[in-house]
């Protein structure tokens, strides 16, 4: 019964991760291909993600209340709860990106994203690796995600500086650049949340707390 519940939680999280990945891919197509339909798809998928988030929360609550899990089982449930929350947040950021992407469609010929596609590429790579590390208990993959986080932060700073300098001289482009900044910020948050998922994987597998530059073993 207990094992069945744990498997159900992992299966539902896998489905959630798949849905959020699909949201991200559609959001990026919406943005870079100016594809309105892709954006609509993201808005639809968000409802599935919200429903699944509640279902996973409920399942985790049941396991905590009825099975009193210990040790690795306890860490798995705690991780599941946090990752469930992080995945839903990533879905929200995909929605934000789509909202800006829709605004940018009218700027079709004036857009110059420069670093944005690269930043999106690295963020997507982080997300996929983070989810895979969690699903396969792979702490090495989780460590790779953490290393990429600084790259994304630097890219965001570069985009921010460039957009500000454009806005200072080209007032017509303020709205365009605002949305580019907003997208960069949302990508940075997705990278951050992916890092959280990776850090939680290390916590789940090894009982080590590695966030905020710490390296502490639980209970010691």
């Amino acid at each position: 019964m207990f094992e069945k519940r744990l498997n159900e939680i992992k299966n539902k999280l896998s489905l959630q991760a798949g849905t959020v990945e699909s949201m991200l891919q559609h959001a990026l197509s919406g943005l870079f291909d100016s594809d309105r339909e892709s954006c609509e798809k993201v808005f639809q998928l968000e409802e599935n993600v919200n429903r699944l988030e509640i279902a996973i929360d409920e399942l985790c609550t049941m396991v905590l209340a009825l099975n009193q899990p210990e040790a690795r089982h306890l860490r798995m449930i705690i991780t599941a709860l946090k990752n469930n929350n992080d995945l839903e947040r990533i879905g929200d950021h995909a929605v934000n990106i789509c909202e800006s992407a829709m605004e940018l469609i009218s700027y079709m010929n004036k857009k110059d994203y420069i670093l944005l596609p690269r930043m999106a590429g690295v963020t997507m790579e982080m997300f996929k690796k983070a989810v895979r590390s969690f699903m396969t208990d792979d702490v090495n993959l989780a460590a790779e995600v953490k290393e990429l986080d600084d790259t994304v932060d630097e890219m965001e700073q570069q985009i921010l500086k460039r957009s500000i300098s454009i806005m200072a001289v080209e007032t017509d482009y303020i709205s365009l650049e605002y949305h580019i900044i907003r997208i960069a910020q949302n990508l940075e948050r997705i990278a951050d949340l992916s890092t959280n998922i990776a850090e939680e994987t290390i916590f789940m597998k090894e009982g080590r707390i590695v966030k905020h530059g710490e390296n502490e073993t639980l209970g010691e």
Binding site: M1, F2, T61, M62, A65, L66, N67, Q68
Partner: protein, 254 residues
């Protein structure tokens, strides 16, 4: 919702003038495990003993009941008490195999003591099936004609469950069946109950909240002889409606 096997209506149980169970109304569902919980002295064991008419046997304590209990719509007060106990078996807190009997005879004790005759090969089948269902066959098949008392506590308790199952009951009542057992023997019994519920309805009194959470589908919470809350274990353990249930579960009394 599953079918009702056992229905209790307006049940009061007394010891002399003292009321131990107060106006309980409840239905127990087929092929489900129902846990009965509550602080010491809340009447849960007395309630359980009413369900197969063992309570009334305690003549010295002037035990009696009021109200009705129906087994598949049949009022058990109108059935022969021996028949009631065959259809509603019971397993007690302390494993109690008959010490003078072999393992084989312990399993078919219900038949022997009631003078129910069967052919040897029929008894052989009942013994093997009952011991297999309690995961004991492999452990004792070579010592069926030894006395049951050499078995470990956990094995003895599984033998008692096999003895109850041998009568092919509709319901099995268990009164804290694992409180005298270590965690591994307890886990085996819990696993066993989970498998047995496919064929029999189980009602278990337990002091162990974690155990109720792990194995039961429904939970009934008793307090001062009253049934205060009854519902799915999932609901009761995560969001009970009664404040006393909440206080009991969170360790504020009991």
């Amino acid at each position: 919702m599953a079918d009702k096997v056992l229905s209790v209506r307006g049940l009061n149980a007394y010891y002399g003038n003292k009321k131990a169970v107060l106006d309980v109304n409840v239905d127990f569902y087929k092929n489900k495990i129902t846990a009965i919980m509550g602080p010491s002295g809340c009447g849960k064991t007395t309630f359980l003993r009413c369900l197969n008419r063992i309570h009334e046997v305690n003549i010295e304590a002037r035990a009696r009941i009021e109200g009705d209990i129906f087994l598949n719509s049949e009022n058990i007060a109108r059935m022969h008490p021996i028949l009631v106990r065959r259809r509603i078996g019971m397993v007690f807190q302390k494993p109690n195999p008959f010490p003078h009997m072999t393992i084989y005879d312990n399993v078919i004790a219900g038949y022997k003591l009631n003078g129910i005759k069967k052919k040897k090969h029929e008894f052989d089948t009942i013994v093997e099936q009952s011991l297999t269902r309690t995961a004991l066959w492999g452990e004792v098949k070579d010592s069926l004609y030894d006395r049951g008392t050499f078995l470990s506590g956990g094995q003895q308790q599984r033998l008692c469950i096999a003895r109850a199952l041998a009568m092919n009951p509709d319901v099995i009542l268990l009164d804290e069946p694992t409180s005298a057992l270590d965690p591994i023997a307890t886990a085996k019994i819990e696993e066993l109950l989970n498998e047995l519920k496919e064929n029999v309805t189980i009602i278990i009194v337990t002091h162990n909240m974690a155990q109720a959470g792990r194995i039961s589908d429904y939970t009934a919470f008793f307090y001062l002889g009253e049934l205060l809350e009854y519902g799915t274990t999932e609901k009761l353990f995560t969001n009970p409606e009664n404040e006393k249930t909440e206080n009991f579960l969170t360790g504020r009394f009991g």
